[in-house]
Symmetry: C2
C-alpha cells in the first residue's frame, strides 16, 4: 500500500527531480493541472524581458531580421518535432489550436475533394467538433460522429478525414494511433491527430504511424504560457499538395514581394497565416526547449510511474471513487480522472487545501501529471487531501459550489 515514505523514496530516486527547480512552483502548492496550464519555467521571464527591452525596445523593426523573429515559427517547430516523432521541417508553431484545426480540416477536404465527411467521436474536445461545425455551416463539410470501437466501421468512401484527439481530455484514454491511422488510410481518408494532451507527456510517433496531419497545444505540457501559440504538423509527403484556405501573407512564397496573387511557400511555412506572435513564441520556445532537453523517453517513464503511484494512493485514501482513466499505463495519457456527481465542489475544496486539480463538466475530477515538475509526494498529498475532503464532507459548503466563469 502506498505510503508517504514510498513517495519520498521515489522522489529521491527520480532522475528528473532536479528539473522541478527550473519551474516557479509556488511553495506548498500541489499543482496537478499542468495539462490545463503548464507551470512557468524559470527562464521565461528573463527571456521575455530580453525580447521586450532589447529586441523590441532597442532593435525595433530590425529585429525581424537581426533577432531572427521571422524564423521563430519554424525554429520552434523543429524543437517540438522529436517529441512527436516528426522531422524538423514538418512542424511549425503558429496561431491557436482551434485555428490550426480549421486550416488542416479545410486542407484535408480540399485534398479529398468529392468526399465531405469528417469523422470524429462524440465527447471529443469541443473545439475540435466545433471547427468541423464551422465548415459544415459553410457547406464544405459533413460531421459524422461514432463512438470508440465503432470508428473503423464508420470509415466509408465518403470520409475525407478522421479527426481524433489522441489523449482524451476528460478520461485520459489514448487512441491506438497506428491502428486508426491505418484504418483511415485503408478507407482512403486522411487522418488528423490533436496532440494537445499528448505532446511532451506520452509517446507519439507521427512518422512511424504515417500520420498525415496533427495539431497540438503550446500551453499544457510544453509550458508555453497562457494562450501560447499552438503547432501544426504536416507529413513531408503532403507538402507539395496541401493548400489551406487561410492564405495569409506569411504563408506566401515571397511575403515581402507584396504581389496581388497568392503563391504558397514551398514547405511547412505555407501553413502560416498572419504575422508571428513574437512574445508568445518567445515564451513557448523556452518551454519547449526545456521539455526537449529532458527528452520524451524520460518524461514518459516518469509520467507512468507518477500515474501508478497516484492510483495506489487514491486506492488508499478514496477507494470508492470511480476512476474513469484506463488502468493500463500504455493506454492512458499523463492524467488520472475520477467521476463524482459533485466533482466541481470537490475540486474547489481541494483548491482551498492547496491542491489544484481540474474540474470538467459535468462530473469529472482530473489530475494532470506533468512529469517535468510533479513529485510523487505531490500525488500522495493530493490523494490524502481528497480522502479528507470526502470524509469530512467539507465540499458541501456553499462557497465550493459557486461556479466561476472559467471552470
Amino acid at each position: 500500500m502506498a505510503s508517504l515514505a514510498e513517495a519520498r523514496a521515489l522522489d529521491d530516486a527520480d532522475p528528473l527531480a532536479g528539473y522541478r527547480r527550473q519551474f516557479a512552483i509556488p511553495p506548498g502548492l500541489v499543482y496537478l493541472d499542468g495539462n490545463s496550464l503548464g507551470a512557468l519555467p524559470l527562464g521565461t521571464a528573463a527571456r521575455l524581458g530580453e525580447v521586450v527591452r532589447k529586441e523590441w525596445g532597442e532593435g525595433l523593426v530590425r529585429s525581424w531580421n537581426d533577432a531572427h523573429w521571422i524564423e521563430a515559427p519554424r525554429r520552434i517547430g523543429a524543437i517540438i518535432a522529436p517529441l512527436i516523432g516528426a522531422q524538423p521541417g514538418e512542424v511549425i508553431a503558429c496561431d491557436s489550436t482551434s485555428v490550426n484545426l480549421f486550416k488542416l480540416i479545410s486542407a484535408a477536404l480540399l485534398m479529398r475533394s468529392g468526399r465531405k465527411v469528417v469523422l470524429s467521436e462524440p465527447g471529443n474536445f469541443p473545439t475540435d467538433l466545433y471547427m468541423i461545425a464551422g465548415l459544415e455551416a459553410q457547406g464544405l463539410a459533413e460531421r459524422r460522429l461514432a463512438e470508440r470501437g465503432g470508428l473503423e466501421a464508420a470509415l466509408d468512401e465518403d470520409v475525407a478525414l478522421l479527426l481524433l484527439t489522441h489523449v482524451h481530455y476528460k478520461t485520459g484514454a489514448m487512441h491506438d494511433m497506428a491502428a486508426l491511422t491505418k484504418a483511415a488510410h485503408d478507407a482512403g481518408a486522411l487522418v488528423l491527430w490533436d496532440l494537445s494532451h499528448s505532446a511532451g507527456a506520452v509517446p507519439v510517433d507521427l512518422n512511424g504511424c504515417e500520420a498525415d496531419l496533427a495539431v497540438g497545444c503550446g500551453y499544457k505540457y510544453l509550458n508555453g504560457g497562457p494562450g501560447a501559440p499552438a503547432f501544426t504538423y504536416v507529413a513531408q509527403r503532403h507538402h507539395d499538395a496541401i493548400l489551406q484556405p487561410l492564405t495569409g501573407w506569411m504563408g506566401h512564397a515571397a511575403p515581402f514581394a507584396f504581389t496581388d496573387d497568392y503563391a504558397p511557400a514551398p514547405g511547412i511555412e505555407r501553413m502560416l497565416t498572419g504575422t508571428p506572435p513574437i512574445l508568445g513564441l518567445a515564451a513557448l520556445e523556452v518551454g519547449v526547449a526545456q521539455i526537449a532537453e529532458i527528452g520524451i523517453d524520460r518524461l514518459v517513464a516518469k509520467s507512468r510511474a507518477l500515474g501508478a503511484f497516484l492510483r495506489a494512493a487514491m486506492a488508499r485514501f478514496a477507494p470508492d471513487l470511480e476512476c474513469v482513466s484506463p488502468g493500463d499505463p500504455a493506454a492512458r495519457g499523463s492524467q488520472l480522472s475520477f467521476r463524482h456527481p459533485e466533482a466541481y465542489a470537490l475540486s474547489q475544496a481541494l483548491i482551498a487545501r492547496g491542491v489544484i486539480g481540474d474540474f470538467r463538466d459535468p462530473d469529472i475530477l482530473r489530475f494532470g501529471l506533468a512529469p517535468a515538475y510533479i513529485r510523487f509526494e505531490d500525488c500522495w498529498h493530493a490523494a490524502e487531501a481528497l480522502g479528507e475532503v470526502l470524509a469530512s464532507g467539507e465540499w458541501k459548503r456553499e462557497e465550493f459550489r459557486q461556479r466561476a466563469v472559467v471552470t
Copy 2:
C-alpha cells in the same frame, strides 16, 4: 522654408511632447517606422513581468478567473473602440489581422448568400487579397479587383462584400469611408474596412459611416509589440445574424459546458476562436491604453502637423524625389511615401545613418509618423539625412543593396 529652429519650436509647443518619454526610443535614433512596428511603451516590460511572474507563475490556472484573463479580449476591444468610432461591445482583440479578415470575409459571404464576389482594389495590402484567394480556392468566393475611382461602378448585385484598407500601406492614400460604405450598401453589399494603418493615427468613425465590419492591427500605431493580437469590429446590428466559420470553443455561448454542438455566444465574443493569447494581449493592453489616454483628436492633430512639416523639410532637402502620398492631410494616413527606383538601397543607407524608415517593394520609401512619440526634429533629421544620402550617392554601396529576409 523648414528649418531646424522651426522644428524645435514646434516640439517645444507640442502638447504631446511629454508622451515621448513614455516610450523606449533608443537615443540618437530617428524611428519613422512605427507603422510597421510601434515603439515599446515603458510600462510594457513591467506589466509583462507581472503577468508572467505573478499571474502565471503564482496564480497559475486560477488566473483565468482571478486575474481576469478570460475577459482580456473584450476589455481591450473596449479600449480600442473610441479610437475607431465604435461602441465598447463592438470590438474584440484576437488572432492576427489575417485570421480576422478570413473570419469576416467568410461571415459576410454567409450573410449575403447568393452573392460570391468580394470586391477590392489591386495593390491592396497582400494579406487582404490573399485571404479572399483562400476562400476562392474553397469555391466560396470570387475575387474582383477594381482600381480606385472604379470601385463604385464595380459594385453590382453579385458583390457580397467590399473589402478595402482604409489607409493604403504604400502611399498612405485614405479612402472616403463614408462614401464607399454608402455605395456598397446601395448595391446591397456589406463593407469590411482594414484599419491596420488607421487605428490610433487618423480619424475613423465606423458607427458614423454605418460600417459593417472592420479589422485592424495591434502592432503598428497601437504599440502592442511584434505580432500583437489584432482586433475585429462587428456593428451591433449584425451581432445576432453574423456567423463566422472558425467556431472555436471561445466563441461558444457556454465554452466550459463542453457540449458537442456549437452555439454562438450572444455578442462580439462569437468572433473568438481559440484560447486568448494572454502574453500578447497584456502587452497590447498597455499600448492601447496609452494611445487611448492621449486621445484620437490630439493624435490626429499632431500627425497632420508632423506630415506638413516633413513635406516642407523634404521639399528643402530632396526636392526632386517624387512624393506618392496625397498632399491633402485629410486624404492621407500618418505617413509620407516617396518613389525611387533604388528605394531599398536608400532605406538601408538611411538606417546606417540612424534613420529608420521603411522600404516597400519595389520602389517605395515610407516614413511613418507615429504621433505619440515622433518629434518634429525627427522629421527634420530624416529629411536632412535623405538629402545627404542622395547627394553623396552613398546608397550605391554594395552593402546597402543586399536584401534581408524581411524587407
